[in-house]
Symmetry: C2
Subunit: 281 residues, 2 copies
């Protein structure tokens, strides 16, 4: 496994692969890898001759009052995990290498205005920009993203299509702890009491899944799920929503394929989760 | 020479070239090709194993009150010229093929806020977006742009660097008519009287070149050039500016390398031209 810390080093390695006609899978991450990332690397390993993992805590997707500085980092552990999982390359640049004097950015309209985009202004611009850069540097055939960040996945699929990146964007299922909490690097922020409270997101999802059906008013589902969340004193609901699975726009009634995302603060930590539902027939 | 009208056809051809290890030069155009474009194709032909010319009147770079509908088109003439100049591929998509339902766009900050960016809001967003798409579709090693559109050239260089496109962006000198008028597809809009008046831009440039020197206040140069333009009754000056050659921001005094761009309406036709100046020592 090679480690590239500059764009030029990464390009040199990728050029070699391209010359040999090898297809490339990219797993973009912010590091502090967990089994969720592991499942993405495993999927990439299965489907590509070469696997690149990027580890970059991307400053442009954090708001001014967000957790950029305290975002957890442990490169040595990440390196070992990538090596064990058979990655061929870690791309691990410094922010200056990626953004010195940068003025160009990639944005997306409607899809980014709702949900996490509304809660975190500029977040998806930062995501689209860094993913564009990674696509251009690594030139992957396939790129792997977790379904936990469902809006991000929808946006990157749309961006890759709209800008003709020629990269197949692949979503992988949410990986959960045994009590249902979705794996996330941010789970490390939780103290013991918060950690015990955090599975309330999953309980809300389980309840939502048990009652959702075609023709149901979205507001009914939302209220039911909010009740579950409200029962947990340490949890403060930011949103529960029912949106069109493609456009991320709210729906009134559950008719077509929908995504049901939620964002909840447990203590000061913002956790997200979601489930999808497609009516039969 | 092949002609691709869809992204997929272009990709198929490019894939073949890449497989054979051939380097690719791209000349992005809006068609109605003149000797200016010809010089770009010639430069690309000289430096690349394969040359692609895109011919696409890009709707997203035209404002609502601009000349999208009347922009001149003559594909058969363009096709013949490309063939004669030894191009290997024309990429000639319809707007729907490029933009159906598109929401993603590429933007650039400071560089796009001045000059033509101020006069044509959204123009450079459209340019950056379509050039990003063309870069992703054609995957060129080198791309060729005319120095007539100097701000566009600076912006595309910056965008290619910032977003790590890995494309070398090459500017080619302005090609002029015998009376000095810069070649432009828009020159066809001029009636006989306007065409006779249009070389006033070149006369202003010649005058500017004759007096510019290190330490000169920018406003002095601008006033002198504006005087030349004002002497032509059919010409209405939109701007004459002195800007930093890299950042496109106005300078007060001529110290480092500058660009001196001008935009002038001759009748209802908006013409642009420019010259560069770098003080010795």
């Amino acid at each position: 496994m090679e480690i590239a810390r500059t764009v030029e080093e990464a390009r040199r390695i990728v050029r070699g692969w391209k010359k040999d006609g090898l297809d490339i899978g990219l797993v973009p991450t912010m590091g502090y890898l967990h089994e969720g990332h592991g499942s993405l690397i495993a999927a990439a390993r299965k489907e590509n001759a070469r696997v690149a993992v990027s580890i970059f805590v991307n400053p442009t997707q954090f708001g001014p009052n967000e957790d950029l500085a305290r975002y957890p980092r442990d490169f040595e552990r990440d390196r070992a995990l990538c090596e064990n999982m058979g990655a061929d390359l870690i791309f691990h640049p410094e922010p200056e290498e990626m953004y010195q004097g940068a003025q160009a950015f990639v944005d997306i309209g409607l899809l980014a205005d709702t949900l996490d985009g509304a809660a975190r202004p500029g977040h998806f611009r930062g995501v689209c920009t860094v993913v564009s850069k990674l696509f251009n540097i690594v030139q992957p055939d396939r790129a792997y993203f977790g379904e936990k960040d469902a809006q991000q996945l929808a946006i990157i699929k749309k961006m890759a299509f709209d800008l003709n990146f020629g990269v197949q964007v692949i979503g992988c299922p949410i990986v959960r702890e045994s009590d249902g909490l979705a794996k996330s690097s941010r789970n490390t922020y939780l103290n013991a009491a918060e950690r015990a409270a955090a599975p309330v997101l999953y309980r809300a999802i389980q309840h939502g899944k048990s009652i959702i059906k075609k023709g149901m008013p979205a507001q009914m589902l939302i209220s039911e799920m909010e009740k579950v969340l409200a029962a947990e004193p340490l949890a403060k609901t930011e949103y529960v929503a029912v949106v069109d699975a493609m456009t991320m726009q709210p729906v009134d009634t559950i008719e077509g394929a929908v995504l049901v995302p939620l964002a909840v603060r447990v203590g000061s930590t913002r956790l997200i989760d979601n489930f999808s539902f497609a009516p039969q027939g």
